[in-house]
Symmetry: C2
Subunit: 344 residues, 2 copies
């Protein structure tokens, strides 16, 4: 059969029970697949172009009922956000050569049977890889968490942790565009410089160089924090809680510092926060995708006018994906971690 | 001068740095005072009738900048919520024999210079002592926390801790009147029986008899908790966090289990809750007093129709006040703890 091709895939070997994920938890294999949609299927066959490495993928490597997204299937390719080109389609909404972003496989070609969660890419006058992040799930996460959950006002004092990450860098820029004072934390001098020089944060600091995080925050926010965009959890959250202003808001996007721990660290300062009538709220981007057109309307002009900067950390080739994913947890990436599988 | 009287007072001896408050931290003394408002003052002189003992008073015994209400002044009478009769007035809004509720002193007579925070009692066809609780700060706290913060819907699964307390017993009844399923926790069999038999909770349990609070909650809420009205903090909060339903809401009223601790217990399960897109929000009744007329409109008919039950634990005489206050922290009281200073 002429439409059968070799398909390189990144497979999760087995569930990780505890501790840090390692490259060796994944393996590259080559299988065969057809580039035609099976007869009668409403799915699509795509060629994967760009894949996104994301912290939340760690929790999918463990089979826990507390996951907010389904666990991976051991022996099967890892799945994640990506940009892909339609090769064959069994659904009327998509046709050959359409570009889509959404959940796909960590492999060269994927058969996607559930196409409801995919977004068709309509604007191609921006880099396609942006749809793995800025114009995809991460941009929407920043938008929903900042505008919808944190309910910011002009002049608010805003703190963003993991600020050089895919979501954090956008939250900071949204906050600046709204007229807020914004401080970000990150884990290297390089990232701190980026936050100030490239992303326009008012201040930024390296949390690894601070012995007392609460004191560091007090230094940058002598009058306290109105909005905390939470990406890390643990000690940083505790330090923020004692620095919240009256009616402070914590939009909890993630807690990357906790994902590899068997038992999460204890948080001791909730009472401080609640005495300030603070609100802490977890959110997930899935609940806000109906706002995607509104989001694009806001963000596309900003990108084209250079008012939003965006930094990608790309690695070439599917084989590089496991190391890129693992690197997230030691903060090796600078900017959004993208795997280039193919450019077209 | 004939208008000078002896005035018995409960004095805080000095700030408590750590640990449990004790009766001996307070002392009864007798001073002299005039029953006339000083010339030119806009204050009032009142005779105190009923005083309220409240958990939050513990934090006012420590001079900490993290307090949400001002600390007491050592050497001066303790202050708290009470019902009082106006003996002399320098303000046009209040006249002799008017009844008020609000902040007053733990003494027989008080000169209240700041009358803005007082509420004039307009409805006297209910027991006057109710204005120390059900119709005062506690009722408003239950009302604001439940209706405004927790945003409940008919059919919600509602859990209330310290449910036999002044606020908790009302929250449970509000929830039942709205058509929710309500479970309460308390610290004795007597209180548990009260919750079920007098206050109409669907279920209630003694938290002291549960080795695994999370398992206990799972038993009463097999499908999870929509609304948690938080009065205690610590282990109970952690147990609730793993049992929250999607978009669960925690209205944080207080954390009585933590007030006497030097360092609050660590909370480990926040991530569970945020994965469920839960919202945790601290609130304070002060922010909601503008709703007091609306609250009375709802609650007074319920009281008169017997649809809201209310239980007071009264002690007689100002001298009994310190023991009554300390008793709160060991859960000695059954229902709202009231001190009867005088009945008219």
């Amino acid at each position: 059969m002429s439409d059968m091709v070799e398909n390189k895939q990144i497979i999760l070997k087995e569930y990780i029970c505890q501790g840090y994920a390692k490259e060796s938890d994944m393996v590259t294999q080559v299988s065969k697949m057809s580039l035609k949609v099976p007869h009668g299927s409403h799915g699509i066959v795509v060629k994967n172009l760009y894949l996104s490495c994301d912290p939340f993928m760690r929790s999918r490597m463990t089979n826990s009922e507390s996951n907010f997204v389904e666990a991976f299937t051991p022996g099967q390719p890892i799945t994640g956000y990506g940009v892909a080109k339609v090769l064959d389609s069994g659904t009327p909404n998509l046709k050959k050569d359409d570009l889509v972003w959404g959940m796909t496989g960590w492999e060269e070609y994927s058969l996607i049977t559930d196409t409801d969660g995919l977004f068709k890419i309509e604007h191609t006058d921006v880099p396609l890889s942006y749809y793995t992040g800025l114009l995809g799930m991460h941009g929407m996460t920043a938008y929903a968490g900042f505008y919808e959950v944190a309910a910011p006002k002009k002049g608010d004092y805003v703190f963003v942790s993991a600020a050089a990450g895919a979501v954090g860098q956008l939250v900071g820029q949204f906050a600046k565009l709204l007229g807020c004072y914004v401080v970000g934390s990150a884990g290297s001098k390089e990232k701190v410089d980026l936050l100030k020089d490239k992303f326009g944060f008012d201040e930024a600091f390296n949390y690894k160089e601070e012995e007392d995080l609460a004191a560091a925050l007090k230094r940058y926010f002598p009058d306290g924090i109105d909005v905390y965009f939470e990406n890390v959890g643990g000690k940083m959250l505790d330090a923020v809680l004692v620095n919240l202003r009256l009616h402070g808001r914590v939009a909890v996007c993630g807690m990357i510092s906790q994902y590899n721990l068997e038992k999460p660290e204890g948080i001791h300062n909730l009472m401080h926060a609640f005495k300030k009538r603070a609100r802490l709220e977890g959110f997930i981007v899935f609940d806000y995708y109906h706002l995607y057109p509104k989001f694009l309307e806001l963000v596309l002009p900003y990108i084209k006018e250079g008012k939003i900067n965006y930094l990608e950390d790309t690695v070439e080739g599917l084989e590089s994906a496991p190391a890129a994913l693992i690197g997230l947890f030691s903060g090796r990436n600078v900017g959004k971690q993208v795997v280039v599988v193919a450019r077209e």
